[in-house]
């Protein structure tokens, strides 16, 4: 980290912003990964 954070608030603003983006990535990848994981299961009836 080349940037110096003088306050905890600044630091959190930085880390939480990235975390929020990653949360979105996680939610999307969960769906994709679940489909990959269960792709060869015998077909189950979805609602």
């Amino acid at each position: 980290m080349e940037h110096i954070y003088y306050t905890l608030h600044q630091f959190m603003l930085h880390t939480k912003s990235i975390t929020y983006v990653l949360m979105g990535v996680a939610l999307v990848s969960f769906v994709g990964y679940w489909l990959f994981l269960t792709g060869r299961d015998e077909k189950m009836r979805k609602y």
Partner: protein, 368 residues
């Protein structure tokens, strides 16, 4: 069964996230944040303050605020307890405390926290902690949710409730624009008794400690603002316990430290919940499948059993029918034999009487 699983899963995850919350209390983990090195501040020494309200007037003028109904040289307003509002960024209140024959004055304005609660609470980043130590507000971003007012441990921000179109939060800026120009904050500049000292926060702390050390009888041994809410740019010295001057009792924990636990739990929920829930879904599906298979099995068994039973019944019926058939044949044969015998006897009798018909022994055709 399902219900209980549901509960334990939910409860477990909730508590787990809370445990994460307490662990994450440190916020930055191993990082430490000392604040801006050149942050300025103001020291208010209430042993020097005479309650002249000059600072209120200067504040009003440098910030171009509307004139209040009572003039600034009217000191009777000190008799009522006041707070800052959208048109008044600083107020001085008078306190008559036990053990002192003179009143003590307390000046109130934004304390410009090292870790501002308002900035931490604002969901549009309208507040900024500047390198000069001041905390400023950008009204162009403000949504008007007033969470900053809830969050501020000193209840400083005020809101323009009566403006229907552009109501904004207002508070002291520590004269950020004047500091940028190299000037003193309005209140500090005008103070006739040097009750207000402007300087680097570090230096002000040293000055305050020195005063307490030199005159231990005159001062309460606590610099309000040194650690309050993680430390503030404004510091206060008082002859009596600060709480007696209406200063709120505020812990050492700064706002971002208070919230970091709850904030940190959020991504944990995002990461773990879908996994647990998909697991619960998988389990319930699997159970459903097993139940369906068991049901199919049971149906098959039932069908088989029924079939076997039906077969047995059929067989019995057939046997019975066969027996009956045999019996019927038997009966018919006997009947026919009997009839034939009878006929024969009759014929015999008839033959014995008028004539003989010898060949009468023919058996009747089977009908059954």
């Amino acid at each position: 069964m399902h219900r209980r699983k549901f509960l334990s899963l939910l409860g477990g995850a909730g508590l787990a996230s809370a445990m994460g919350a307490t662990k994450a209390k440190a916020g930055g983990g191993t990082h430490t944040f000392k604040g801006y090195p050149d942050a300025m501040g103001v020291l208010h020494d209430s042993t020097r303050c005479i309650g002249c309200r000059k600072c209120e007037q200067a504040c009003n003028e440098v910030n171009n605020l509307p004139k209040p109904s009572a003039a600034f040289d009217d000191l009777t307003v000190l008799d009522t307890k006041r707070r800052t509002d959208a048109k008044t960024y600083t107020v001085v209140n008078k306190y008559n405390t036990a053990g002192l024959e003179h009143p003590v004055f307390r000046k109130q304005q934004c304390n410009h926290c090292q870790e501002p609660a308002c900035a931490s609470a604002c969901f549009v980043k309208a507040f900024t902690k500047n390198p000069d130590g001041s905390v400023t507000y950008n009204g162009d971003l403000c949504v008007g949710c007033r969470y900053c007012m809830v969050a501020c441990p000193f209840s400083v921000p005020a809101f323009e409730y009566d403006d229907p179109l552009d109501p904004l939060v207002q508070k002291c800026t520590m004269c950020h624009p004047r500091i940028q120009e190299g000037k003193l904050p309005g209140c500090v500049e005008i103070c006739p008794k040097e009750a207000l000292t402007f300087g680097k926060r570090e230096d002000l702390l040293a000055i305050a400690r020195e005063r307490i050390r030199k005159y231990p009888d005159r001062y309460e041994k606590h610099i309000y603002g040194e650690t309050e809410a993680g430390g503030t740019s404004w510091l206060y010295l008082s002859p009596v316990p600060h709480a007696e001057l209406g200063m709120p009792v505020v812990g050492k924990t700064s706002a971002p430290e208070l919230t970091s636990g709850a904030l940190g739990a959020v991504p944990m929920v995002v990461g773990i919940w879908p996994v647990l829930l998909a697991g619960a879904y998988g389990i319930s599906k699997r159970k459903e499948k097993i139940a369906a298979e068991e049901r199919a099995e049971a149906v098959k068994d039932a069908v088989n059993a029924t079939k076997a039973e039906a077969d047995g019944a059929l067989k019995a019926a057939m046997e019975k029918a066969d027996k009956e058939k045999a019996a019927a044949v038997d009966r018919e044969v006997k009947k026919a034999v009997a009839e034939a015998e009878k006929a024969f006897e009759e014929k015999l009798a008839a033959a014995q009487a008028p004539a003989d018909e010898a060949d009468a022994g023919e058996t009747p055709e089977e009908e059954a």
